[in-house]
């Protein structure tokens, strides 16, 4: 299997998509009525200050020209300045992405392991109460709105039981005694790197409810898909033939069944990464988790278009990268895919 043409095709596709996406977001966000220069100045701006900012930001030029300028800068890795925080968007993204990815990756990894496990179990025990239970729960997990689940988890585990914290990524009192120092931006890794064990456990403890909120959708999806895909594979003639030739049932299941059933599941995992990243928009607001979702939502509410552009392009990229890497994985588990 040759990866090079495949990857280069994907890269070209990514570039085309990003250009289209950026044009769409740029022209849409800029056609919303609102004074971007006034927004940049903030407070009780005086007319002459707004005029000056308009020139400074190049907002007095035609929109298409502004777009071309933006794209030129983008090629050199410059995403512009946030209108609200006045900091480079690229730098803001570098700070916020790890915070979100930490939660998203945990959610996806756990959803993958648990989903394949539950799906396999349900398929193995098809028709029993275990199968019924898993089917029911996975349907529920896929259908429950994420923001509702997040609030429900807060209500149960903070308000009623008091087991998990309400919000934030670390307890405030630890900020006095063992403040979290950021190295990579991934707080669990950083707390270990700096030998800050108290912070490590505290952050992990804070992460439980956000991860649980995010896990529901991909977990339900993966469970259902694993189950149905596995049932389909297990009813194929070659399985019957293998079984007739006396291959052990466990070998049959894991090597011949599960491995072949995984290909569609991996496609869904790729999609789930992007969907989960979007779901952080709700979850981060509810849990006061200052990641990319929180950052993007604030930008939307304040017409901060450089940030909107940055976040959209980033999520678009993640989407393509996640799908591509899942395609590569699929090729590994199923060499027939070209």
């Amino acid at each position: 299997m040759s990866l090079v043409p495949f990857l280069s095709r994907r890269l070209i596709g990514l570039a085309v998509m990003l250009v289209a996406l950026s044009a769409l977001v740029f022209f849409f966000s800029r056609s919303i009525p609102g004074d971007v220069a006034a927004m940049y100045i903030g407070g009780m701006a005086k007319p002459e200050q707004i005029e000056r900012a308009r020139q400074e930001l190049g907002l007095d030029q035609p929109l298409t020209l502004q777009y071309v300028k933006y794209m030129k800068k983008l090629l050199s890795g410059d995403l512009g300045i946030s209108l609200r925080t006045h900091r480079p968007v690229f730098q803001d993204l570098l700070e916020k992405i790890p915070m979100s990815m930490e939660v998203v990756l945990w959610a996806i990894a756990l959803a993958m392991v648990l989903g394949i496990g539950f799906g396999g179990l349900a398929a193995l025990r098809q028709g029993t109460w275990i199968d019924e239970g898993i089917k029911w729960l996975s349907s529920a997990a896929v259908s429950i709105p994420i923001f509702f689940l997040a609030l429900l988890l807060q209500l149960i585990f903070f308000n009623l039981l008091g087991w998990f914290p309400l919000q934030g990524r670390i307890d405030t009192f630890l900020e006095f005694s063992n403040p979290l120092e950021l190295v990579t931006g991934f707080s669990l890794i950083d707390s270990l790197l700096t030998g800050n064990h108290a912070a490590f456990f505290n952050v992990a403890w804070h992460m439980v409810l956000p991860v649980l909120s995010l896990i529901a959708y991909p977990l339900g999806l993966i469970t259902r898909l694993t189950r149905s895909s596995l049932l389909e594979v297990m009813s194929q003639d070659y399985i019957l033939a293998a079984r007739a030739s006396g291959i052990r049932e466990s070998v049959l299941f894991f090597r011949y069944g599960l491995r072949n059933a995984l290909s569609p599941v991996l496609t869904v995992v790729g999609l789930s990464v992007a969907l989960t990243l979007l779901a952080t928009f709700y979850v981060e607001i509810i849990f006061n988790w200052p990641g990319i979702g929180y950052y993007a939502l604030t930008a939307i509410l304040s017409l901060d278009y450089p940030v909107l552009m940055g976040v959209t392009l980033m999520i678009g990229t993640v989407y393509v990268v996640a799908n591509t890497s899942m395609d590569i994985l699929r090729r590994i588990v199923d060499p027939r895919i070209k």
Partner: protein, 516 residues
Amino acid sequence: MGKHLALIFLLVASVAAMANPAAAAEKNMVFASPYGITTLDPSVSYSTELTYMANIYETLIRVNPPGSKERFSYLLATGFNASENGLKYTFNLRKGVKFHDGTPFTAEAVKYSIERTTGLGKGAAFIWGDLASIDIVDDYTVTFVMKQAVPLPLIAASAYASYILSPSMKDKDTAWFDQGHACGTGPYMLKNYKDGESWMLAKFDDYWGGWKGPHVENVLVKYTKEALIQLQMLQSGQAAMVGRIPLDSYPAVKSGKDTTVVYGPSYQNYMAFFNTTRPPLDNVKVRKALAHAIPYKDIIDIGFNGMATQARGPVPKGQFGYSEKVVQYNYDIGKAKKLLAEAGYPNGGFNLTLTYAAENPQEARFAPLIQSEFKKIGIDVEIKALVWTSQWSQAKADPKNAQDIFLLLWWPTYSDPYETLFSLLHDEGDKPAWNLAYYKNPAYDELIRQAYETTGSQPEKALELYVNAQNLIQADCPVAWLVDIVGNWPASKRLKGLAINPAYPNVPFFYDMHLE
């Protein structure tokens, strides 16, 4: 195995630590704040970061809240005097003051800071518009020379654009500050800045005021936008004070076992601009009718849960320029009907559009009250909630096609009425910015400028001029002044010394506070 034991031990230890957060926390407090940071550059800052800036940086003098014995508190200056013509102000500076990086504070720092602010010309730098020069007399004496006799002490005490920063920061630009750096003379240093998440205001050991007596030493600011989360943090004891809780939760917090609400005046007020450029609101009688048809009491009771008072005019109560002599419009539906009839609309019979900022939950609450009251006099109001920048840019675009009624929340930059009266009502020609009634009155423009230039030398005369100017406005009624806001901080009962100074909106002066 030993590794596992160590991990378990750590886990137990951290759980134990979680169970007892109050230990050794007496000097530390958590503030769950909805006030974000748009810039950390003290010369440029003109937004909600004031909440922290005023604790990190200091001005020469500070305006005391209304009702205080002295008009000013002396911070970096120990006193000042004005020349007879009101064009020169000489300040004596405090000795032995250090900046956070150890640089000594001298007259050079004053000159450098204010010139940096005016040079950048951003934020509230316009308040220095009448400054001619700053002359260093000696290390601890500095003279401000003005082009006009404007009230300089109030400008020097401004909540924005008047902070003194260390001259050692000469080669630093705004971007450097925005990475989370600061260098002032205030009691607190900025530390561990995580944009959009949290930052620490940490005790500055060499603060000139000293640390004897009870003071909060470290304040962890936990940036929290959601009012509901702030409420939860306050009630669960995770935060000693918060900025904003849901309006309906005030009674519970006020009477809570461990919580309370600290109230005080604010110079923030709400107003409704009438579009004076086209019928029917170009008719002064119609405008007056509307001003009498606004349900002020309902707005206060329902819109603000009682945490507001009816506004008299543009200047909020307590601020210089406020006077009982300014004519006030009260709710009187009979009078409103009569005025409408006189204007030729005996049964109303026209439609108006009203816009407000969708981000403002308060306006969303009281706009419908105005709508239903106007309905009673036969006027249909269409309410449009727009994102603030949209609301504002539509109003500025073309008055003839703009809204009929514009709701606005306003507060002054510094403790003087001129800026408010000028911005909101002076003739802006064909480029409206804040005068969203599009009102023009040369006599008024003349009066307020006169008053401004008289404030320093003859305050009584200035007040009289301000009153006359405001009554000119009230006679034409281009704006209905709705309510003055009552400021408040929901806080723990253990937190003492928390007070509200309306000249510095949303600034808790942490140095004055301690935990009991």
